[in-house]
Symmetry: C2
Subunit: 548 residues, 2 copies
């Protein structure tokens, strides 16, 4: 066997910041700080302070593969940690501060974090968990000495700027196996305990190349990027890595994610592209519409997390000239899997002709592959209609959770290739555009045919008397499962089972119409406002359908 | 040490064509064939025939790492071989048919090629070399059975389409170590024997990601790519890999590279971008200007190989709205090193303000790093003025030539990092834009200061009486070397040494003005029209300067 004779250079996160310093040294990082003011410096400064922090970590006796946790907003200090921690061989563990303090403590103990860095906003969380975190040796407040809390119950409270100031910037990034763990993120997991996803330097660099491509986020040295998506949420979709790779200016919004604060930052810093979940853009659009404003530099925004409402996509494009890019992924995918960029054939279409494609989650970025399969694990046709379990694979897709939690998550195809089941149900059209139609556990499997619970719920919700609707599977002796519609009526509205079922006629195939309607006072909701269908299924597990 | 827990998937060239088939199956590959007609099919067809060819190679007893040579134009069959050969684990060895038959035989023997695939255009070459190639077991003519030469002296002459037709398309691309050699290319080498550069699957895939980036060639599924740069010349700058990665339509010009043929293909196939050397664009522009034509779909063209004349860049941009992208690289770099894409700061400049940047070879694409060093190996400032030897490194940069020819080509820096000396001399400006100023062996080293031979020649050439000028180093007892200008006068022109030297005043620093002028009848030229300065230096090795 003949090996290629190219240089053997392990892929390394430290090379990103080295590159940005050397080739884009004066490109800016602008941050709105927790303190309220605007902080600005450049990649040269970021690299210098990351090297100082790497020395500080050594001073704290942080060793190879030690986990270093953060509870922080999007800001320059958080970005310094992205490079100082991973670059020096430790594992950056970003924790979602929106979780309950108990969950945060559980995660920190499970990850066995050795230090925790936090923005002052989260001091109350730190005070609540400090007594319960068994492995954390110190808590680093990401502020100047002057802003340090005068007194605090937190043991071994360290000031971030003291750490920086007391260390040299002479530091050579070490070279190591590119499969070394670089960072980790826990899945929120609607069922069971959160599970850790462990990224490597290799998976991160490959993901960063892919994310920057014209068919993905399309980022260059001509862009000014404002990531609204938090750095504690799957590495802000990779943007803190993409920006130094391409030498883009990056603008960090800190804790102020309301429409007004974002709009002001967009305009003041000449932002060209942004990324976040639909609710953020709702707030932004509301502010812009109410004040009759325009975007002077914004060209496009990446929307993920959940589907972008078609009306929002059209408003952005038609009224504001801002292109919406639908993207889809998950914590287990680093996170990018698909992006809804168009193909050459769409270039000659009218907006009305191409919108239906743009509403989809998009096509895979090279590196990731996907399939949809039925109950028997066999491939379903890519006709944009058949829907099945969505499976993915690729060098930035998880093969195992941290500490092997949950066992082997992968499945094999007939050729022996391993795939990760996403837990989503989707269609794929002939051009490769994927659209999520449901969650796997929510779909109703009726006699070998699948019924999308979301489709049924959307139709139910379109009835003027319905306040909330959940469609779940009820047991059926002949069809295994049949759809049961659980409905909360609007106050004072009258609505019978027959009236609601009649509302479905002509909107779906006859066999997809629910077998029954159960009217209830309320449907249980989770912390983020999502319906807890698992609870509903438990509640209705002995429900006898009239058709059974 | 903790490893990341992402899927372990070796980077593989076969995954590119698998991806294009699955996700861009109906994107077209259009080829002008040697036979003269236009052939069109899509990635699904290309993948099917590449699998058939992979089975055919197995049938020919081609084993892992066997070298398979090609002598072929840009066309769909050549592209099939790119995937069939590398994808099945053999090494694709593209040979430049413009070399002398003797050199071709020497290269095939050195590489120990086992089969040679060729376009019929090159049958005379095959007939000339067949008796001299010791390891080649068969010669495959890339044509239909009907077009096979009726009689030929070539031993074991095989028909390409027979091979395809007689094999099944059932083939699973094997998985192997990503460092496996995938392809090779010999450097033309102005001195000494050609040396083989051996690429790997890993280096190729990383290069392909980098080449597609918005700051490099900026290619997407919305592009129609026409590579004029030949597939026998460093893999057509990577375009046969980039196109399937991004799902772009690709248009192959075959042997007809004249302005008229290219223009017709550009228009008929709605080409959006192209790539080639300046001489090709001269021909194209001449045709377009002479016939008062316009480009209806062309958006940009990549120019490399040698510097694009500023006037050509301006004509393309100002008259035809075609953006010229300067790129630089070499066989030893897969080949891309830099691309001259702009930064955010240039977006607010007038064309006149940004042109000087666009005339440069550009800034590195992430993955490659570069330095300029002086005689002592120390870094020179990035001020756009200081020039020194250009060194590069990166995962798609050579570490050794095939069979170790020429010894260890790398040098080490103070931190122990290895670098490849490009043999070019260049400046780098504060924004990281590199500009080639000379070849290392041609620069004149005068008392520790370097003088660019090209700068001196350009000034000499701007004198109306000068037909050709070469600036070489002559020995000097005090300064080691001083510039000697060797000049061919235009027919019937009169020009004295003093007149020509006076022409330099005010154009360069006094100490850079040549010490003497030698008028000659002719300057020796190589096969590609370049001045052979090594021969001139030999000729003038005992020249006594008047200043010595």
């Amino acid at each position: 066997m003949l090996h290629g004779l190219m240089m053997q250079m392990p892929l390394a996160i430290s090379s990103l910041i080295r590159h940005a310093d050397r080739h884009h040294g004066d490109a800016e990082i602008v941050s709105r700080r927790v303190e309220g003011d605007i902080h600005r410096y450049n990649y040269r400064d970021l690299h210098r302070r990351a090297r100082q922090m790497a020395n500080a970590l050594k001073g704290l006796d942080v060793k190879l593969s030690d986990r270093i946790a953060t509870l922080a907003w999007n800001g320059y200090r958080h970005m310094e940690l992205y490079f100082a921690v991973s670059g020096s061989g430790a594992v950056l563990h970003t924790i979602n501060p929106r979780l309950h303090a108990e969950q945060i403590a559980w995660i920190a103990n499970h990850a066995e974090d050795s230090y925790l860095f936090f923005d002052l906003t989260f001091l109350p969380i730190i005070e609540a968990i400090a007594g319960h975190c068994r492995t954390i040796k110190g808590y680093v407040a990401m502020v100047d000495r002057a802003k340090m809390p005068a007194q605090s119950k937190v043991p071994n409270l360290i000031c971030y700027e003291d750490l920086i100031d007391s260390h040299s910037d002479r530091y050579d990034w070490p070279e190591f196996d590119e499969n070394l763990a670089s960072s980790m993120c826990y899945t929120s997991g609607t069922t069971g305990s959160p599970k850790g996803v462990l990224y490597s330097h290799r998976s991160t660099i490959l993901h960063t190349y892919a994310a920057a491509l014209p068919d993905a986020l399309n980022l260059s040295a001509r862009d000014v990027i404002l990531p609204v998506v938090p750095m504690f949420h799957v590495n802000a979709w990779g943007l803190p890595y993409v920006a130094p790779m391409v030498g883009a200016k990056i603008v960090m919004p800190g804790p102020n994610l309301d429409g007004k604060s974002l709009y002001e930052l967009f305009e003041a810093e000449k932002v060209t592209c942004s990324a976040g979940v639909p609710t953020v853009w709702q707030g932004l659009l509301a502010h812009v519409e109410a004040n009759n404003l325009r975007f002077s530099t914004m060209k496009r925004t990446v929307i993920g997390g959940s589907a972008c409402p078609p009306a929002m996509l059209r408003t952005f494009e038609e009224k504001y000239g801002v292109q919406v890019l639908h993207a889809w992924g998950m914590t287990e995918m680093s996170p990018l899997g698909t992006a809804c960029t168009l193909k050459e054939k769409h270039m000659h279409m009218s907006p009305e002709q191409r919108y239906p494609t743009q509403y989809k989650q998009g096509r895979v970025i090279y590196g990731v592959d996907m399939r949809i399969v039925g109950d028997d694990g066999g491939d379903l046709p890519w006709d944009g209609k058949a829907f099945g379990d969505l499976l993915v694979r690729g060098p930035w897709v998880l093969r195992q959770y941290y500490k092997g939690e949950g066992g082997d998550p992968l499945v094999k195809d007939a050729e022996g290739r391993t795939w990760f089941p996403t837990g989503d149900v989707s269609t794929i059209d002939p051009d490769g555009y994927m659209q999520i139609t449901d969650r796997s556990k929510d779909v109703i499997k009726s006699g070998g045919e699948w019924i999308s619970s979301i489709d049924i719920e959307n139709i139910a919700m379109s009835h003027p008397a319905v306040a909330m609707a959940a469609c779940i599977a009820a047991k059926h002796p002949k069809w295994d499962e049949r759809p049961l519609l659980v409905v909360v009526r609007k106050p004072n509205a009258e609505l019978t089972r027959e009236q609601l079922l009649a509302h479905f006629e002509g909107k779906v195939a006859k066999w997809q119409i629910p077998d029954d309607v159960a009217f209830v006072e309320s449907i249980p909701l989770g912390a983020t406002g999502k319906m807890l269908k698992a609870k509903l299924r438990e509640q209705f597990k002995d429900y006898k359908l009239p058709t059974a």
